[in-house]
Symmetry: C2
Subunit: 221 residues, 2 copies
Amino acid sequence: MSPAKGEPSVRAKRLPREVRERQILDAAVTVFSRNGYHDASMDEISEVAGISKPMIYAYLGAKEDLFATCIHREATRMLEAVVGGIKAGLPPDVQLWHGLRSFFGFVGEHRESWRVLHRQSITQGGPFTAELNAMRQRAISLVAAVLMRTGSDEGIGEAASASGEALAAALVGAGESLADWWLDHPEDSADIIAVRLMNLVWLGFGNLVDGQVWKPPPRVS
Amino acid sequence: MSPAKGEPSVRAKRLPREVRERQILDAAVTVFSRNGYHDASMDEISEVAGISKPMIYAYLGAKEDLFATCIHREATRMLEAVVGGIKAGLPPDVQLWHGLRSFFGFVGEHRESWRVLHRQSITQGGPFTAELNAMRQRAISLVAAVLMRTGSDEGIGEAASASGEALAAALVGAGESLADWWLDHPEDSADIIAVRLMNLVWLGFGNLVDGQVWKPPPRVS
DNA sequence: CCCATTACCTACTCTGGAGTAAGGCTACGA
DNA sequence: TCGTAGCCTTACTCCAGAGTAGGTAATGGG
């Protein structure tokens, strides 16, 4: 922007802490998503944020703290998007459908967020693992809750209720993996991806093979 | 141990290269699975292998090469286990069932291998990413092949055939995620986990909710 | 107008850990 | 017996990159 001479370390304009923190977090998410935790350097983050390194330490603490804060913020955003997309009182398949739709919608619009969350959410190592596990668990619990509510609404089958969390974990994993696959095959829209997973998860292969298809209800949202 | 002299860097017994390489790889898998790529140090690996560091460099090359070799070996083992568990000529659901069973069986018996493969297979960064992606792709292709073969055997439905790879990606992800979940909830056997995923993937939630259950055929190995 | 506060910077220190140079053993063939 | 090939080690070098010390400049209340 503005600078007639590139932007060679001009002293940054004075800004209130609140704003700078946001900028730093945004930069951190960008860099973390590009390089992963370990290969991201504080120097690079500070550069992207257009600020000098000590500011990061002053405001957000050490690298680990910074990362944990990123994870927390992005995970919260994502979960809110998904939860916000689910409307109570609708039939179970429709609820699931809305959840998936919100999820893939979010991923499509916030690729960086998604990369930070997923690419790093598996890797063990740092003490931020706590933050990551907590977030993942929140996701699984959320899904399990939807599934179980679904179940109790119409007398759930043995197989499903006995293993709610396991099924939720599987579903979450399928979603994650498919989201990743999608990033490499962006030709389809979020809704199409969501429908595919919905087909798999609701109908199952047994029915798909027979040519059945699940379709979203005509007039919802 | 053997505290009379501890075991203070006693010169290791002379062994043929082939054997040492195996030992080093085993140690590397152990350490990588415990700490992840970045937090694993060559020093620790050499210590676990009972050998000095330069030997690793002499035989297996730099850290990245070592890691890539580990991934390659473990991934190959796993894929062979899965492929070996699938018998051609059986009904589609049974084939899928055998595949899942082999997969979870492998994970149960080779936790270290699994951790290395999965915990690291997502994280991007090093140039070994190539190795990882290749392996993951092999897995997805394999699954897709089984699914499609299944399909063509009995006139596959539109929905399934249009998105074979996507569905395979989802299925693989579900398996991975469930395997991870299992590591934290080891109270169930591999077969039980496999049945759960089979239920989800073959019957779908729609049927599970109605109380249907998929059961393995009575007499198949 | 002045001083306290808060934003901001340059220019370091210091350590973990990858990778290597250079040289000792040991086995086996001649 | 010696020599040479190939295991094996100690003891470094070297650097990226986390984290900090100490100082400058804008802002705003008195």
